[in-house]
Symmetry: C2
Amino acid sequence: MAANSRNDPRLFDSSYSYGQLTSLTGFALRRASLLDFGKFGDSVGDRAITPLRYSLLEVVGANPGLQQVELAKILGLSKPAATLGLDFWEKRNCISRRKDRDDRRSYGIYLTEQGEATLAQLRDNVRQHDERLTTCLSDEELLQLRTLLRRIYSG
Amino acid sequence: MAANSRNDPRLFDSSYSYGQLTSLTGFALRRASLLDFGKFGDSVGDRAITPLRYSLLEVVGANPGLQQVELAKILGLSKPAATLGLDFWEKRNCISRRKDRDDRRSYGIYLTEQGEATLAQLRDNVRQHDERLTTCLSDEELLQLRTLLRRIYSG
DNA sequence: GGTCAATGGTTATTGACAATAACTATATCT
DNA sequence: AGATATAGTTATTGTCAATAACCATTGACC
């Protein structure tokens, strides 16, 4: 089921005044982000796969053998959040935790074959989703937007 | 207390690979938005005032006599979310609900004097907060960014 | 070598938040 | 009048993530 109109902040109603909100970058970021988030589950065909969970899998895939603590740091998560997120993918046989021989407190995280396949599929769906979100922008504008956003969040 | 490093997604660690994430607009939006959100409470000097609650007050101030249902639609909220949000401000004597004479099911929402003062103060703090978030951008870039974001979220 | 602090990870507890559903009251349509 | 729709609130539920407490292992230091 598609997000209903109540949850769809795309419906910007210009017959009302938004006060100072329309001149705040933070407000614009939130609206755009919520819009993205709201459609994400449908786009990837599985409501359970949130942007966060997807990003987990992506980072694990890009950094085989990563520690959980590192993963958490990369994505700005708490330790428990990383644990839970990985539990989710482990239940789906997409990642495995291998005890590190040298430091037996920690695990190395790896994609399973199933995980590789799932990630490949997800990547495509997510890329398409992302393109749909930004169809209203030209390639140049898109590049510009990402560059500016990156400047903000990598401070 | 400032947000701790675990919650601060500004710490973008380029010694790891982010896979496809860095080329997704949605990812960039989320990171920037979370960064904004994380500092908001501190910026306005009151942890209880979230961006959502602030936006409520802003919209009420800009549209005196608004119905709750309209308010909800403007901000993409559910009816209960609007009710709760207004309860918050009503407890603080910042808004009042006046029964509409013509349609006694609905209320008109108005700022109280207290609400006007609070909003005025908030506006300043929020504007400063927003400027801090984007100090890394020139005025021109900022304008560009807002324009592009607006195109996205107003479909 | 033995204690003690620090680190990786999990579990337990809690709180915030928002969504749906159900309910009350009022309005509208026929 | 009776059926239906609408404004608003309350109740219930589920998700999410954060903190704190906990276990196991490591490493530093005396």
